[in-house]
């Protein structure tokens, strides 16, 4: 038995990980990509190219719309055929650049290799920002922002997130097995920039091969350690991971840097390596394709912007005999259900699940019997049942007081609820209204104060 750590709360959904043994397959470049200018949290970028322009693979297509923003790069060489509103996986239309590939065979990127670890910190940050890196675990927060904490918040520890607690996903698992050196170097780069003394790689115990391999890679490095974690959802949540690895509690409404920690996904670390050593921009990522409708489930390296339908087709297509009922971008717990398969794979796409009607079956909502399972499961130690009734009664201030804004919508409560209450929906709504109410109150108080 491994000596594992974990956090309080959470639960154990069935793991559904069937593709952990499937080596990453690199798909050929698609004929067409749709690249939304907003694939990150923060301001959308401004386009740098116009319709008709010929673009090279890796060419920067957009200027960041501010500090908390990230540029987007051409993931294939070709011609810009459209610039306008296209469906985004989030279910809204947003500005995107559409590139049609040229017929010529693709030229490889011409990376200029340097020893990234010997570069000055500012140069490392600049290369990361230029490469358009964002958190690839799904949150898509621009990486360079996390690497530029204010001087008042010294960072002592960096944690790489290799937890992959979402059921069914194995992209990070495969990356850890196939590119461990990049990941470890990425960690060192992050630690160098942040002047952090300790680096940890948190991996759940259901990936013993990844734990062993990375443990070997950091052997002899005093300031690096692989931390085996008990299997439990949602351990990949930043706050839960920090609690599990270091026993520190990020304050409510605060950020990891408030407790001296920065967390990055392992895939982001590998991309940081490529960006700093080779100045390679983020134009592709590993995506797990799974679900009973998929012909060849596995882990695929896909160009960003590839429409979901084209990705599925290139990866072997769907089974003809099982009708497709639900397509989820991400994992079964927090993933987004798609209604249109023309939306593209984006920087935060970790998985694509094609489910049959049986897998996607819905259950009827019943009444709450106060079983308390939601309270037990909530990793933020909130009272989901109480919060839902407050939202139902539109008691926004009370819901705010009970910490509804701490909810990260991990879905533990709704997963375990025997009455199948729409708890996450309630909290999504409640959080929006509580934030709006608070803003309104703050605005109302301003003129009085003056």
């Amino acid at each position: 038995m491994m000596n594992t750590r974990t956090f309080a709360g959470g639960l154990h959904p069935p793991d559904l990980k069937t593709t952990g043994g499937a080596a990453i397959v690199t798909l050929p470049p698609p004929k067409k990509v749709v690249l939304p200018l907003s694939q990150h949290i923060g301001a959308p970028g401004k386009p740098l190219v116009a319709v008709g322009a010929t673009v090279e693979k890796g060419q920067k297509l957009s200027e960041p719309g501010g500090f908390v923003s990230a540029p987007v790069h051409a993931s294939i060489a070709g011609k810009v055929v459209a610039l306008g509103n296209f469906m985004h996986p989030f279910g809204v239309a947003s500005t995107a650049i559409v590139i049609e590939g040229s017929a010529e065979p693709e030229k490889p990127l011409s990376p200029v290799a340097v020893d990234g670890l010997s570069l000055p910190d500012d140069e490392i940050r600049k290369r990361i920002q230029e490469a358009g890196l964002v958190g690839m675990g799904g949150a898509t927060f621009p990486t360079h922002v996390k690497l530029s904490p204010p001087a008042a918040k010294p960072i002592d520890s960096v944690i790489l997130n290799g937890v992959e607690c979402e059921p069914a996903l194995t992209a990070d698992h495969r990356l850890m097995l196939e590119e461990p050196d990049k990941i470890v170097t990425g960690l060192k780069l992050i630690m160098k920039v942040l002047k952090a003394k300790k680096g940890y790689i948190g991996i759940e115990a259901n990936k013993p091969d990844a734990i062993r391999l990375l443990d070997e890679k950091v052997k002899g490095e005093e300031n690096l350690a692989v931390i085996p974690l008990e299997v439990k959802y949602p351990q990949g949540g930043e706050k839960q991971l920090i609690a599990a690895v270091l026993g520190r509690e990020v304050p409510s409404g605060g950020l990891p840097m408030d407790v001296g920690v920065v967390v990055q996904n392992v895939a982001t670390a590998a991309a940081i390596h490529d960006a700093v050593f080779f100045q390679v921009p983020l134009i592709e990522r590993v995506v797990t394709l799974a679900g009973s409708c998929v012909q060849k489930p596995g882990n695929y390296r896909v160009r960003l912007g590839t429409p979901v339908a084209d990705f599925i087709a290139a990866a072997g297509g769907l089974k003809p005999d099982i009708p497709l009922a639900k397509v989820i971008m991400g994992g079964p717990m927090m993933g987004l259900a798609l209604f249109d398969l023309n939306v593209p794979v984006i920087k935060g796409t970790s998985g694509l699940l094609c489910w049959s009607a049986q897998e996607a079956s819905l259950r009827e909502e019943k009444t709450c019997i106060r079983c308390g399972r939601c309270i037990e499961a909530c990793p933020m130690h909130l009272l989901p049942q109480r919060l839902k009734s407050l939202v139902d009664k539109q008691k926004w201030a009370d819901a705010g007081g009970l910490g509804i804004l701490d909810c990260m919508e991990c879905g533990c409560c709704a997963y375990t609820c025997p009455a199948n209450l729409p708890l996450v929906q309630s909290f999504k709504l409640g959080k929006k209204v509580v934030l709006a109410e608070r803003k309104r109150e703050a605005d109302a108080q301003k003129p009085k104060g003056n």
Partner: protein
């Protein structure tokens, strides 16, 4: 893309338990104790249970279909469970119509008037028992003698026996008898066992006088373990409730055998595993469960040692039900990252 895709908010899959599954599994967990009651009280156990369940089911269906004009939710098993639980805490000699009225009243006045499943404050089975005890006190305290199957409807005259707890209370209240016992060097416990011709094994197996489903302690324990394994109850309430009764009785009587007698007598096992763990009418957090269990145990002791009734499990749970909102209020868990404001250093 022509196919229509299902779009919902996550989580996209779900734990297997449903409300109905929980209710039916709790009912299933009562099966061993029901088999014991059939062995001990014969056909009467079946009649009383069936009538109580029928009363509950009719009550639920009538209110939902005729008054509320809502879908009838008998399939969720909660009315059946209430009926079975009521049958388990009444005498097996109860007339069939009394059992039916009990089940009906429990559902109507104990559950539906509050708004149905999940809304009631008090355990509906115990509400029903309280109503029956107030309305037909003689029927509710006429205990069938174990082992003499009285047939399905048969007369019960001459086939009654005291419950061990009842006999002990009577004995303790009779100063003359107590003096005689003291003179002969017999303890109250020995006297109770001798008079009823029972021993410890009868207490555990269930071949004693008492409510229909409360006597088979081992069978109830089996059901309780099943519920624990299935995560439908937590250990907190049963352990603290029974622990409080045992330790309290030990402190009061300073006699371990009496403490064990109180642990294995009356409705403590039934109450601790099946009634004080009812999800709807008990606290929601584990800390709350601990407080609830201690409270139930303490009130049980108070009634058994100081009250007018020989047994206090039912009322202890009803009284503690009323404290649930308060317990829920004081056992709110510490929120992750909840920080009390720390005084900031002010620069001069």
């Amino acid at each position: 893309m022509s196919e229509k895709l299902l779009v919902t908010v996550g989580p996209h899959h779900h734990a297997p338990d449903t409300v109905a599954r929980i209710m039916w599994e709790v009912t299933l967990a009562l099966l061993p104790a029901f088999l014991v009651s059939l062995y001990v009280f014969g056909g009467r156990a079946l009649v009383v249970t069936v009538c109580a369940v029928l009363g509950a089911v009719v009550g639920e269906a009538l209110v939902q279909a005729c008054f509320l004009k809502k879908p009838v939710t008998l399939a969720d098993g909660s009315a059946v469970l209430t009926g079975v639980l009521l049958a388990f805490c009444v005498p097996a000699a109860l007339p069939w119509w009394t059992a039916f009225i009990g089940g009906f009243a429990g559902i109507v006045f104990g559950k539906q008037v509050y708004g149905g499943l999940g809304q009631n404050i008090f355990n509906p089975a115990h509400i029903a028992r309280a109503i029956l005890l107030a309305s037909w006190p003689v029927y509710m305290t006429t205990w069938l003698k174990p082992g003499v199957a009285a047939g399905l409807t048969g007369a019960v005259d001459g086939l009654t026996a005291a419950t061990p707890l009842g006999l002990m209370k009577e004995t303790l209240r009779n100063p003359d008898l107590m003096n005689t016992l003291q003179a002969s060097g017999t303890t109250v416990l020995q006297y109770t066992f001798q008079t009823l011709d029972i021993g410890w094994s009868n207490l555990l197996v269930g071949t004693i006088g008492g409510s229909l489903g409360e006597t088979g302690k081992i069978a109830l324990l089996l059901g309780g373990i099943f519920l624990l394994v299935r995560n439908h109850i937590s250990w907190h309430t049963p352990v603290t409730m029974m622990g409080t009764v045992f330790l309290g009785a030990l402190m009061i009587t300073r006699d371990p055998s009496l403490a064990f007698f109180h642990l294995f007598s009356g409705g403590l096992f039934l109450g601790a595993f099946f009634m004080a763990t009812d999800m709807v009418t008990t606290p929601m957090t584990k800390t709350g469960h601990l407080l609830f269990g201690v409270g139930c145990g303490a009130i049980t002791l108070l009634i058994r040692f100081k009250g007018g009734y020989p047994e206090g499990v039912c009322y202890s749970i009803l009284i503690m039900n009323a404290f649930v909102p308060l317990i829920d209020k004081i056992t709110v868990p510490h929120r992750f990252g909840e920080v009390l404001p720390v005084p900031q250093e002010v620069k001069a």
